[in-house]
Symmetry: C2
Subunit: 143 residues, 2 copies
């Protein structure tokens, strides 16, 4: 019962875009900052764009930025987009045998998401000074 790498990458990308704002961010910046494979991030940034969280600007000096205020993006809505299998047990089965178990797990998942409704991207980047330093975003700020 842990979040997938994909969710992790999506949240980190949004955090990075929040901290770099209003500067345009390149996928390579995010890959370097977190030590994540660029290949995985490309798909993630594409999806975040499709879902309306990032604006992609094409071209030689292109990149992406947040499409909404980080205060207006809950962690829960990202998790709903990125995590599969909400409401189903691991096997994907939903027959009589696991009916009560599925109900229990669905209720537990709702409680999980309910907590994450209370956190926005702004909240999880609230320690912005520390984060900018760790992610090497201080230099850009000062410039």
């Amino acid at each position: 019962m842990r979040l997938t790498s994909y969710t992790n990458y999506a949240l980190r990308t949004l955090m990075y875009a929040t901290l770099a704002h209003p500067r345009l961010v390149r996928v390579q910046d995010v890959a370097d900052a977190y030590g994540i494979s660029r290949t995985h991030l490309v798909k993630c940034v594409h999806h975040l764009g499709m879902w309306g969280y990032l604006i992609n600007q094409r071209g030689r000096n292109g990149g992406f930025r947040l499409a909404r205020a980080p205060e207006a993006i809950s962690v829960a809505e990202i998790v709903r987009h990125t995590e599969e299998g909400f409401g189903t047990p691991a096997c994907g089965e939903a027959d009589t045998v696991v009916l009560r178990l599925v109900e229990a797990v669905q209720q537990a998942q709702a409680a999980f998401l309910s907590v994450l409704e209370g956190y926005t991207i702004a909240d999880i980047t609230a320690n912005a000074a520390d984060l900018r330093c760790v992610l090497g975003l201080d230099v850009g700020r000062a410039a």
Copy 2:
């Protein structure tokens, strides 16, 4: 954010033992009933024995049975045993960068488990008549 196959197997094994009670259950019975690989179940049954949920009886007519009343086993305690990564993001990292995110996810996981504290193995097998029929346990009962 879904439960692993391992958790699923553990819960199903406990459900089966509950429904078959007081009869001894063999790993092969559980494998046949759910169409799960025997190999996966052997490990699972071994662990459930170690954690004190099953009593294993060796020998030619051996098998296992529940070590406690199903009303006394919460789904949450099984999930705590079987699921890894509670309290950590997918990458296993716990540094400054994801500090607030880890806190949010930990709180969400606590809420998830809190709901499952409210369900016991007896609760998820409460539709016992249906389950015994689907799992082919009716015959044994009648005999």
